[in-house]
C-alpha cells in the first residue's frame, strides 16, 4: 500500500451525455508528497480532470485510485472529507468567522471543540495569520491574499493526505501571488501533502510542479513529465508552443550549476561570485553583469571554479536529452 502512488489515474475519460468529450483517456501518477501541476489553456479539461479526483464530476470510464484504493468504491461525501479542496474564488463562507471557516472539515468529521480549536490556531499560524487578530473576523474584512491563505488553511486543517487546488493564486495581485506561492511551497514540503494543482500559468506550473501535465483543447494530455523534461524536450508542437519560446530561459531557472563543467578557480580581480547552490539563471545574470566575463562559484567561501559563457552553453547542451 505504501508503495502505491498517492494518486493514480488510469485511462480516465469524461464524455457528457450530449457527446462532448471533456477529457480523453488519460493516465498519470502523482508520487506521494509531490505536486502535480495540470496546465493548459481554458477548455483543455484540466479542471474537469481535477474535479474527477474528488468525484465532483464522475468519470465516464477509467480508474482513479488514491493511496491504492478505487475512489468509486468510497462514499463521495466521505471521500471529499479526506481530500483538501481549494478553488480560485476561495469560497470562504461569508457568514462564518475565519476560525469557523478553518474548522469546517474538523466539524464535519466530528472532532471535539478543544481539538478543533487547537488545530485552527495552528493552521492560521502556519499560513502566517495571527489567530487572535484574525480568528473572529469575517472573510470580507480580509484582503484577497489573506482570504487565499485562509482557504489553504481550511483545506489542510483536517490533515488530508491529498490536496486539490484550482487556480488557487489566480485572484491576487502578482506581488502577493509570488509570496503566496513561495509560502505554499514551503508549507507543502513541510506537511508532505500530495497536491494536484490546476493552473493556466506555465510559470506557476514550473515553479511549483514536481510533475507537469500539459493539456490541450479537447481534453488531451500531451505530456506528463518533470518540468525540466517538458521544457527541455517538449513532446508535441503544442507543448513547445505552450511552454513558450523562452523555455530555455525557464529551464535555466531549474538547472543547478554543474560544478564539473567549471574551469579551475581563477582569481580575476573584479569578478563577481555566486554560491554553488545558485540556479543557472541567476548565475547567468551575474555573468552578464560581470566586467570580466567570468563568475567565481564558491561553496561556503571556498572557490570551486570559474563559470564562463561557454560552460553555461555546455551545461544546457548536456541537459538536452537525446532525441
Amino acid at each position: 500500500m505504501t508503495d502505491a502512488p498517492a494518486i493514480s489515474l488510469h485511462d480516465v475519460a469524461k464524455t457528457y451525455p450530449d457527446g462532448t468529450v471533456a477529457v480523453h483517456e488519460l493516465s498519470f501518477e502523482v508520487p506521494r508528497g509531490r505536486i502535480a501541476a495540470l496546465v493548459g489553456p481554458s477548455g483543455c479539461g484540466k479542471t474537469t480532470t481535477m474535479r474527477m479526483i474528488n468525484r465532483l464530476i464522475e468519470p465516464t470510464s477509467g480508474e482513479i485510485r488514491i493511496d491504492g484504493s478505487d475512489i468509486m468504491a468510497a462514499d463521495p461525501v466521505e471521500l471529499r472529507r479526506q481530500v483538501g479542496y481549494v478553488i480560485q474564488q476561495v469560497g470562504l463562507f461569508p457568514h462564518r468567522t475565519i476560525s469557523e471557516n478553518v474548522a469546517t472539515v474538523c466539524d464535519l468529521n466530528g472532532w471535539d471543540s478543544a481539538r478543533t480549536g487547537t488545530r485552527v490556531g495552528e493552521m492560521l499560524e502556519l499560513v502566517g495569520l495571527d489567530p487572535s487578530t484574525y480568528g473572529e473576523r469575517y472573510p470580507h474584512q480580509l484582503s484577497g491574499g489573506q482570504r487565499q491563505r485562509v482557504g489553504v488553511a481550511r483545506a489542510l486543517a483536517a490533515d488530508p493526505p491529498v490536496l486539490l487546488m484550482d487556480e488557487p493564486f489566480g485572484a491576487v495581485d502578482p506581488v502577493a501571488r509570488a509570496r503566496l506561492q513561495e509560502q505554499f511551497f514551503a508549507l507543502q514540503r513541510q506537511l508532505g501533502t500530495t497536491v494536484v494543482l490546476v493552473t493556466h500559468d506555465i510559470d506557476e506550473a514550473v515553479l511549483l510542479g514536481d510533475r507537469l501535465a500539459v493539456m490541450r483543447e479537447g481534453g488531451f494530455l500531451d505530456q506528463y513529465a518533470e518540468p525540466g523534461t517538458i521544457l527541455g524536450s517538449p513532446a508535441t508542437p503544442f507543448v513547445a508552443d505552450f511552454v513558450g519560446a523562452d523555455r530555455t530561459i525557464k529551464r535555466l531557472a531549474l538547472t543547478p550549476i554543474d560544478v564539473s563543467l567549471l574551469s579551475g578557480p581563477q582569481d580575476i580581480p573584479g569578478q563577481p561570485s555566486v554560491h554553488a547552490d545558485t540556479r543557472m539563471r541567476e548565475a547567468l545574470v551575474a555573468l552578464f553583469d560581470s566586467p570580466t566575463g567570468t563568475v567565481l562559484v564558491t561553496r561556503d567561501g571556498t572557490p570551486l571554479g570559474t563559470l564562463t559563457m561557454d560552460a553555461v552553453h555546455r551545461a544546457m547542451a548536456a541537459q538536452e536529452p537525446a532525441a
Binding site: 465532483l56 471529499r80 457568514h95
Partner: protein
C-alpha cells in the same frame, strides 16, 4: 363641523383605549398567524423547488395566480368554508403572503455564490449539511427582507377582515363609517394600523441585524 366631529382627538383615545388594545391584539394575532401559516407553507415549497428545479416554475406560477385574486373575492370564497371566523381572514392573507415568501426563499437560495457552494460540496458536505450550514444562513437576509415586506402589507390587509367581523382595527374603521362617519374612530384606528406596521418592521430589522452579524460593516 370639524369641531364636533374631529379627525384627531386625544380624548377619543383616552375614552376608548381598552377597545383600541383589544382591536390591536386581534390585528396582531391575525397578522402573525397569517404570516406563520405562509412561512410554514413557503419553506417546504421552496425546498421542493430547490430539489426539483422543474417544479420551480409551476410553484411560482401558481402562487402568482393566487396573488391576483382580489382580497374581497377571496374572503367571500373562503367564508363558506371556514365560516365567520378569524381563520377565514388568516387563510386569505396567508395566500397573499405565500408568493412573496416562496420567491424570497428561492431567490435567497439561488443568490448563494456558486464558489461557496462548490467549496462546501468539495469539502465533503452532504446535501443536508450544505442546505443548513451554508445555503440557509446565506439566504437569510433575502428571506428576512421578504418577511418585512409581507409583514407590512399583511398588517394593512387585515383590515379587509372586517367583512367577516375579524379585521382588527379594520372592524373599528368600518364601524366608524357606519356610525355616521365617526372621524376620530376612523382616524385613530388607521393611525394604529400604520404604527403597528412600523413597529413590526423595526422589530424585524433588529432581528435581521442580530441573526446576520456578518453583513455588518460592509
Amino acid at each position: 363641523m370639524n369641531s364636533d366631529n374631529p379627525w384627531l382627538s386625544w380624548s377619543y383615545v383616552q375614552d376608548h383605549w381598552r377597545e383600541l388594545i383589544e382591536a390591536g391584539v386581534e390585528h396582531l394575532g391575525i397578522t402573525v398567524a397569517a404570516i406563520a401559516l405562509a412561512c410554514a407553507l413557503a419553506v417546504p415549497l421552496a425546498l421542493l423547488a430547490r430539489r426539483y428545479p422543474s417544479l420551480s416554475g409551476s410553484i411560482i406560477g401558481i402562487s402568482g395566480v393566487l396573488y391576483t385574486i382580489p382580497s374581497l373575492a377571496l374572503i367571500s370564497v373562503l367564508w363558506p368554508v371556514f365560516g365567520l371566523s378569524p381563520l377565514t381572514v388568516v387563510v386569505a392573507l396567508a395566500v397573499y403572503a405565500l408568493l412573496v415568501m416562496v420567491r424570497a426563499v428561492l431567490v435567497g437560495l439561488s443568490e448563494v455564490p456558486t464558489g461557496t457552494v462548490d467549496a462546501a460540496v468539495g469539502m465533503g458536505m452532504s446535501d443536508r449539511e450544505l442546505l443548513w450550514r451554508v445555503q440557509a444562513p446565506l439566504a437569510l437576509p433575502t428571506v428576512l427582507a421578504g418577511l418585512r415586506i409581507v409583514t407590512v402589507s399583511t398588517v394593512g390587509m387585515v383590515t379587509v377582515g372586517a367583512l367577516v367581523g375579524y379585521g382588527g382595527y379594520g372592524s373599528m374603521i368600518l364601524a366608524g363609517l357606519y356610525e355616521n362617519a365617526y372621524h376620530a374612530k376612523i382616524a385613530t384606528a388607521t393611525i394604529c394600523v400604520v404604527l403597528l406596521a412600523l413597529v413590526l418592521d423595526a422589530l424585524l430589522l433588529l432581528l435581521e441585524r442580530q441573526v446576520t452579524p456578518w453583513t455588518r460593516g460592509r
